[in-house]
């Protein structure tokens, strides 16, 4: 009986650790990459919900076309001798604000750093199409990590997406199609 009593604190502690571990595992909810394409005219809809853990495992296994070893080859990433990495380094240390604004008869383009994210906003005046791209800084850095000049590290970017909060990455709205790409912890596409 004495043995049982003396073992009680150890059992209680073990149980508490086990419970805490279980709760921690339950709390680490699966993150999802969602894509939703709708066509208001034809009422077509495509919804894709990809668990990021699935993408993390599958992307390195794809060795086809421009995607190899988790990295995609981009032909013109270093076009006109522009050093993408140097630009990103400069952007990282630059204060928040607007970097590029182009306004012409065809479209308006705005690139800015806002709240630790790179934001690209394009308005195509002819097609009345708006494109908003928001990439968290951690994802931008992951995209160019461990790559040559004409590569983007998709695998690292997906891993980085696991740690960013719920965010809309791409939103395209136009007459013919609306596209939204975002990450959150829900396995449905409710906004």
């Amino acid at each position: 009986m004495t043995t049982v009593k003396s073992a009680f604190p150890a059992v209680a502690l073990s149980s508490a650790i086990l419970l805490a571990a279980t709760l921690a595992v339950a709390a680490s909810a699966t993150r999802y990459l969602h894509v939703k394409v709708t066509n208001p005219t034809t009422h077509e809809l495509v919804r894709v919900n990809v668990p990021l853990t699935l993408a993390e495992k599958v992307i390195p296994a794809i060795n086809h076309g421009e995607l190899r070893d988790g990295k995609v080859h981009i032909g013109n990433l270093n076009a006109d001798k522009v050093n993408v990495r140097a630009i990103l380094d400069a952007l990282k240390t630059a204060p928040e604000g607007e970097f590029v604004t182009v306004q012409n008869t065809g479209d308006d383009v705005r690139v800015a750093k806002e709240h630790g994210q790179v934001v690209v906003h394009v308005i195509d005046k002819e097609s009345k199409e708006n494109v908003d791209v928001t990439v968290p800084w951690d994802v931008v850095e992951a995209l160019v990590s461990d790559t040559t000049e004409d590569q983007l590290n998709v695998e690292a970017a997906v891993k980085a997406l696991e740690t960013v909060g719920d965010t809309t990455l791409v939103r395209v709205s136009g007459h013919e199609e609306n596209v939204r790409v975002w990450v959150d912890s829900r396995n449905t596409d409710t906004e």
Partner: protein, 145 residues
């Protein structure tokens, strides 16, 4: 009398073990319902454990180019299926066209496809482990290039 009782227990035990082994990998379920009057209704429930055995009896020429095609994507499938198995259940893909609705979801360790078009409704449920072993078996059906 005791002998008959022992025999009964033996037969029952064997049947239970056999049933457990057959259902251990889940079931492949196919349901097709044609919508036109008098349309066919197909309802098939097959233990997934039977698939590897069944594939042995299919003449290799019926696989066509499938073994070659599957071999090229086998690393992707081997990465995707266990990862998908670890994911929570939920809707993966939905396509809505005028007159057609396709749903692909993961449910209880199986990949489930539902198609509803003007002609028919189709429901297919395949346990992920069975899918992986079947794909491997088809891919290995002919010597690698």
């Amino acid at each position: 009398m005791i002998f008959i009782a022992k025999l009964g227990i033996g037969v029952l035990g064997t049947a239970l073990v056999g049933a457990a082994a057959l259902s251990s990998e889940g079931f492949i379920y196919v349901n097709v319902q044609e919508k036109h009057p008098g349309g066919t209704h197909v309802n098939v429930l097959v233990p997934a454990a039977l698939v590897p055995t069944t594939l042995h009896f299919i003449p290799r020429h019926h696989f066509g180019a499938a073994p070659h095609d599957l071999r090229t994507v086998l690393p992707i499938i081997d990465a995707a299926i266990p990862a998908l198995n670890d994911c929570p259940d939920g809707l993966l893909v939905e396509v809505v066209d005028p007159g057609e609705h396709v749903l692909v979801s993961k449910r209880a360790g199986a990949i489930v496809v539902d198609v509803n078009d003007p002609d028919e409704t189709v429901h297919v449920s395949v346990p992920l482990s069975a899918a992986q072993s079947a794909i491997h078996q088809i891919a290995e059906a002919t010597p690698a290039d």
